[in-house]
Symmetry: C2
Subunit: 881 residues, 2 copies
């Protein structure tokens, strides 16, 4: 039996997203629960895979299945492709497993030709509508299938409007439209040397081809890279019989959310346009009306729509984002899906749904994308500074947060400015998928057209980026690179500030501050804390960082990098004196000067963290990092130190390394200069003893030795640490406890973790370095080829952002397993950047780590991700049973 | 029951080397087969371990066991410690599991004091002997136990000789010796503020302590490092009742080998001294007589000795190195052990013993230390140049080979000269363990005193280093740094040449050539080839290297580094033009110029290797390695290329990397510039097709892609290679086969070897890079701390010399296992430097590799080591059963 590649809507359901795509699966589900969905069929994602395997051609098998499904569709609708009496018209839309809004191409009104347009005019009794549909179809088909530049068609429209003094497309007459259709067909003929295809089935095969091709267009690839969507799952194609929102004033089209996607408020939220079709609403060409107004214009339809949306929310047990069309007074549902929402909205909706009894706490935890929490930490304007600021204009509050930067008018200029270290605001009349790179780079986005569901708004919310949309007061001239609001003229490079939560635009730069965390955040975080097993610590070197992390719920410091203290302006001369010492005595003298400073640093941290664990890593970077490299600095240093310049240069030269990453650093420094480790141990211990007394608490320092690759290294350095620590205890008549552990960041350390664990009381995986060495990638250099690797799909994901489970992860798992064989009580954490990455956190949970440590602003993300990891594991366990 | 730490000789046997040390175990064995061995006891190596655990003190338990064994010894000998009538005198010698000649300290005549010296004089009827023994004892004890500098005692002896006009120690009278004893005791008193201990048991405990302490003296540590002997196994102490070779002219002492240790000839070979004691022979102070002469002086003793040595060789089934003493006409055996021998001797003895039926072929293979074969490859003098050379002097042919270099007179000067890139000859009156570093660094060694078993000779043979010993014609003045032979004066820095096989010394420098490989070598290699499973290939980039390796038995080329061809003087301008190209077109133009050159290189290799496999690795190093770094070279290049200097500098700068080891190189270059891989593939394929035709053979090129860490990298580059190769085949209408494989040198590659093996037809482990990344050691930089690690015993072995089985080896084993799961036919080799290291080769065999590839001169070593690995595995298997 041959494989099934084509499904009627009534043959599918919501579980079949992998095969039918999200859109197709939900259309099938809605069909089957009896909602008014225009009939249609879905060509599966598996057909897309076959298409690419077959050298980008549809196989005969698939074509036959499409033909068969079309026959069904014709029977169902009583219409026929190309029929003079009752022609079938369809829309053709892409729909992958994961939502990729606006990333791929759509064709409407397919089936129109020189004959059926006449029938459509007759049956609708509306020639204008028929010819408007036909010209739209040729335009879309020309763009998407034939790849003729859009502006060629738009230029014709503009000319007609100009010549006739029209402001709006709706003013075009039937005769205008007939002429435009002819001109459009002439453009096709001129550009592609073919007549515009008249056979609807031929049109359809072309269109399906084009949708499949669009899976690999550059914006789709960029979107997938950004959202970590696999490149090999393909898209489905949905072919649906057309309903028309543009047949007159009893028609319309719109989109709505069952709850407010910005705030989470439980109230239908959306927009619609009367007498409009398809992409008109989301494209932001015309500014739509609020969905509330529909209850006034079409009260019955509104009631029906409201009932349907409530049904859908209950059915899916989640906030829905729906699309609908009203054709001559009849409501049709064209799409439903989980609604994208800001983190504010997500938190409010989740906690309220728990209150409503719609979902459980556990489900609420799973509803929040941990990375989204990042948005909470985005700055708001400083209220003091705000007082002095005068708003310039009001737009739509499309994506919350505050942003300040210089304005640029296209994606390229933004990217360039950001690369040069500037903060930029992207200003566009409206955005399109071509602007995606600029949107990623910008601090915030301002558009003069489009609504809350315009491209700019949807994408910005997805990114958690501040956006003010539809600010019609702003006259944007992208060519001249300026915009005008009243009599204020803002040119490229001028500062503006945006408040995405209020929609206000300000001139100049306004100081930003961190937001207060809302009540729903606290509630959800508490639920998460009840569930998670792993502790969450922070990487912090200063009291300020420690305090921030503590406020975000950090349960300790997993990594304090002592070298950051060495770089301090007042200390660096002493550090350099230490490095340039020619004898141990000289070095010890310099270290004696550093000791009280380091002790002060540690006391500052202990005073904040009290009894929470603080892991201090001994000096890690190669010593040459502390020496000057510029000629003038070297000359100055030589003078300071009363050295010959050449002599100093020779010392600096002797410390230089070909591959410093693999050089004399970490515990290797402590083996060569045990006195440095001894000084740092003394500072840690004295600080802990003193703060324990001062604060009347019981501090247990954790001393971490970096870069261990050989068991004997650890033995050697640990001996220095323990001898010093015991001496300090004796001197202070103290019985303070402490523990000594190690970073696991050299591949070899994972392989002999059983040996190392005999000496170490804790492990902390340094997955940054472990990734560098396991891949043989220097982060300092790999940028040059990693971006090329990503483009050529050689590297599906950046291993420095999310841990490479297939490779590096194997070593982590091995290290954990071996370590626990000889030391079952071993405490194991991770302090690389992966400690704040949700996907990595799930892996660390599964691997049995005791804690993750991440930057202060990632602490809430880690808390939630750690809880989700527990739930994921439980549900996997249930599924396996 | 308490542990046994002390054994009488009659309680042990030859199998107990780990506990009794080699010397102790063999003394026990000889005792038990009825040979004349003076009775004694052994304090075990386990006692040494306890000694170090007990803070360098003997425990009471051990002391009690020593006391008990001493009682036995006193009963056995009928003598008593300190007894006025019949005092027991003993020697105290170290003896570890592995022979460490001269590395540790020995004390003779222990038990003598102011009383027993009188008894000894009376009983021996030889006061001179008694006092000479006493002064020797005080001198050794002072040196070894009390650590008083030797020269303080020697100065007294020299003064007495000078004052009395004596030439030789034997001329000292009894009165002289009595005075000397008093002066020696005064030295002890002055230097250490103690009276010389008179209680023999106290002397003994001191001495045992000192021997245990000597285990960790710097020369012992250096020796163990050099010979890869573990540092934690400790030494035993042998306490043996004294026999005296210095009681008169019916006494003597000597050492002998059962076969000639230089040539392997089956004939007793050794030296002795009449009226001498202990270390006199090996210390090289007096030049001894050949063992042949003993048959004339003491024919009966000689006969008895000859019988014993033959018995020992049969008993041990190996050539023996024995020590003996004749006391008043009675022969005593003091030591037997396997004799160290040159590789020439080892090969001859092994093959002859097979002929004699003494050992099997398999045993013969096991008898040769593979590393020793290296000596075979040492240079001899070029016969043509030799004709013009006039010998300056004749010494003893102590260790074969030929050497040329500038003379230096102490170890430090040699080391310095060698560090400066010179070739040096170490010239000493005699060598001592303090000279060991200089001996390692020197090309050859010349001494004016000492025999074939002197320190210099024994150590040089062990190292396979050319040595001429006992060249008495040379008057060496180490202080003035010159030596005089007749009227020729050779000063520091002058060239001389040594022939270690003839003992001849030449003035000036003589050209050296590789030796002919002797018949026994060929016989043994054939036996080895019959046994081994792994193939042996070579790393070769030029026809000359390929030919050398072929002559040594290489079965293919495992690694041809194409970049070596890029560095060629005529090509580098084209290579640079390629690198500086600003477009693919420009780059392809430059590559088109390189292609015929590379093709020529490959044709050269194929013509030599014919159908033997040749693995060509695609370009590996980062491109910046091909660009100039010096200002003047950059200026010249800019001029050549008609570029601005600043522009060129900017390009060079943009290619520089912080960690080039982990940067843009290997397959990463091929992903960025597929055209380079395509050019190289074309060159390889065209060369193979042409040579196959020209030589009428069937060449199957192996194309190797370096630095793979991600499966998709391999897919990407392999596609380029295969497309090019197929195109070349088509163009040439050829059906040539070829295979595409990869280096496994990135840790990650070993972890995903199953994925990689789906695409690769062969793996070649690049264990150099794999070691660098697994340890996080850059070889370019790690020298700075690796030597410190070795000193501090943090690194027991240099992982770049012998593969780190515990860490890196685990990854190799994993890579092999995973690779074979998805590709059971996968051919797997190694082409790092470890491919020529016997211990690593054993590991690679056990791990299931198909072949090793090493430098041409290591090929014979690898052949033998691969055979031994098979035998080792079989014997381990037998033992496990």
């Amino acid at each position: 039996m041959s494989k099934k590649y084509v499904y009627l809507f009534k043959e599918g359901n919501a579980e079949m997203k992998a095969i039918l795509g999200g859109k197709g699966a939900n259309l099938a589900e809605m069909t089957n629960i009896g909602l008014p969905v225009p009939p249609g069929l879905t060509v599966s994602t598996e057909a897309c895979t076959v298409f690419y395997e077959n050298d980008k051609n549809l196989t005969d098998e698939i074509k036959e299945q499409i033909d068969a499904a079309l026959l069904h569709l014709e029977e169902q609708t009583g219409k026929k492709f190309g029929d003079q009496d009752n022609p079938l018209l369809v829309s053709v839309r892409s729909g992958a497993k994961f939502s990729m809004p606006g990333m791929m191409d759509t064709i409407l009104n397919l089936g129109l030709n020189d004959q059926t347009v006449l029938t459509l005019a007759e049956k609708s009794n509306n020639s204008r509508f028929a010819y408007d549909s036909y010209r739209r179809f040729i335009q879309m088909f020309g763009d998407v299938v034939l790849e003729i530049e859009k502006y060629k068609f738009e230029g014709v429209l503009d000319r007609f409007k100009e010549d006739n003094g029209y402001v709006d497309d709706t003013q075009l007459t039937v005769e205008n439209l007939k002429d435009i259709v002819e001109e459009f067909k002439a453009i096709v003929k001129k550009e592609r040397r073919i007549d515009f295809p008249q056979d609807p089935k031929e049109q359809l095969m072309y269109a399906i081809n084009a949708v499949f091709m669009s899976w690999n267009n550059p914006r789709a690839i960029t979107y997938r890279n950004l959202n970590e969507i696999p490149h090999d799952i393909g898209t489905a194609v949905n072919v649906q019989s057309m309903v028309f929102g543009n047949m007159g004033d009893d028609c319309g089209t719109g989109v709505a959310f069952t709850r407010n996607p910005s705030t989470g408020e439980k109230k239908l939220f959306g927009e619609f346009l009367i007498n409009a079709q398809g992409e008109d609403v989301v494209a932001g060409i015309r500014t739509p009306k609020s969905i509330d107004e529909l209850s006034e214009i079409m009260p019955e339809i509104y009631k029906q729509f409201e009932d349907i949306t409530q049904l859908l929310e209950k059915h899916y047990r989640d906030m829905q984002d729906v699309e609908f069309t009203i054709e001559q007074g009849k409501l049709y549902m064209l799409q439903t899906r989980s609604g994208k929402r800001t983190v504010h909205a997500a938190l409010r909706a989740a906690t309220e749904m728990v209150d409503e009894g719609l979902i459980t706490k556990v489900e609420a935890i799973q509803r929040i994308e941990p990375k989204q929490l990042d948005q909470l930490l985005h700055p708001n304007f400083d209220p003091e500074t705000m007082k002095a600021a005068t708003p310039l204009a009001q737009g739509l509050p499309a994506s919350p947060g505050a942003a300040t930067g210089r304005v640029y008018f296209n994606a390229e200029d933004v990217a360039k400015a950001v690369a040069d270290g500037e903060k930029a605001i992207l200003v566009r009349r409206e955005t399109s998928p071509e602007d995606i790179e600029g949107m990623i780079a910008a601090e915030g986005i301002l558009t003069s057209r489009g609504g809350m569901t315009s491209h700019a708004a949807v994408v910005a919310r997805g990114m958690g980026k501040c956006c003010v949309a539809g600010c019609e007061m702003a006259k944007v001239d992208e060519e001249l690179k300026l915009f005008i609001i009243g009599d204020v003229r803002i040119a490229e490079g001028d500062y503006i500030s945006l408040d995405g939560s209020t929609g206000k635009v300000y001139k100049g730069s306004i100081k930003t501050v961190k937001p207060e965390l809302s009540g729903n955040f606290g509630i959800l975080m508490n639920w998460a804390d009840e569930v998670r097993r792993m502790k969450v610590r922070t990487n912090a070197d200063t009291p300020r960082e420690a305090q921030t992390a503590l406020d975000f719920g950090a349960e300790g410091i997993g990594l304090c990098r002592t070298e950051h203290m060495f770089f301090d302006e007042e200390r660096i001369p002493v550090v350099r004196r230490m490095i340039l010492s020619t004898s141990t005595e000289q070095r010890v003298q310099a270290l004696d000067l550093l000791m009280p400073m380091q002790k002060g640093d540690f006391k500052g941290l202990y005073k904040i963290m009290k009894e929470k664990p603080v892991t201090v890593r001994l000096l890690d970077p190669p010593l040459h990092e502390f020496l000057p490299t510029e000629e003038k600095d070297i000359v100055a240093l030589a003078k300071d130190f009363d050295m010959q310049v050449d002599e100093l240069k020779a010392v600096i030269h002797s410390l230089q390394e070909i591959n410093p990453m693999l050089g004399h650093r970490g515990c290797r420094l402590a083996v060569t200069y045990p006195e440095i480790a001894a000084m740092q141990t003394r500072a840690i211990m004295e600080a802990a003893i003193e703060v324990s007394k001062e604060e009347n608490c019981n501090i247990i320092p954790e001393i971490m030795i970096p870069l261990i690759g050989i068991q004997a290294e650890l033995e050697y350095v640990k001996k220095v640490v323990v001898e010093t620590a015991e001496k300090v205890k004796e001197e202070n008549n103290s019985s303070l406890e402490y523990s000594v552990g190690t970073m696991i960041e050299i591949p070899r350390a994972t392989l002999i973790a059983d040996e190392i664990a005999k000496e170490a009381e804790f492990f902390s995986f340094g997955t940054n370095d472990l990734t560098q060495m396991t891949y043989g990638f220097s982060r300092d250099d790999a940028g040059k080829f990693i971006s090329e690797y990503r483009e050529k799909d050689v590297l599906p994901e950046d291993p420095f952002q999310s841990i490479d489970q297939e490779g590096v992860g194997k070593l982590v798992a091995l290290g954990v397993k071996l370590g626990r064989t000889t030391n079952p009580d071993l405490k194991i954490g991770v302090c690389g950047e992966h400690g704040g990455d949700p996907k990595s956190i799930e892996f660390f949970h599964k691997t049995g780590l005791s804690y993750v440590s991440c930057s202060p602003y990632r602490v809430p993300i880690a808390r939630l991700a750690a809880a989700q990891a527990v739930l994921k594991e439980e549900s996997d366990f249930q599924n396996d049973k």
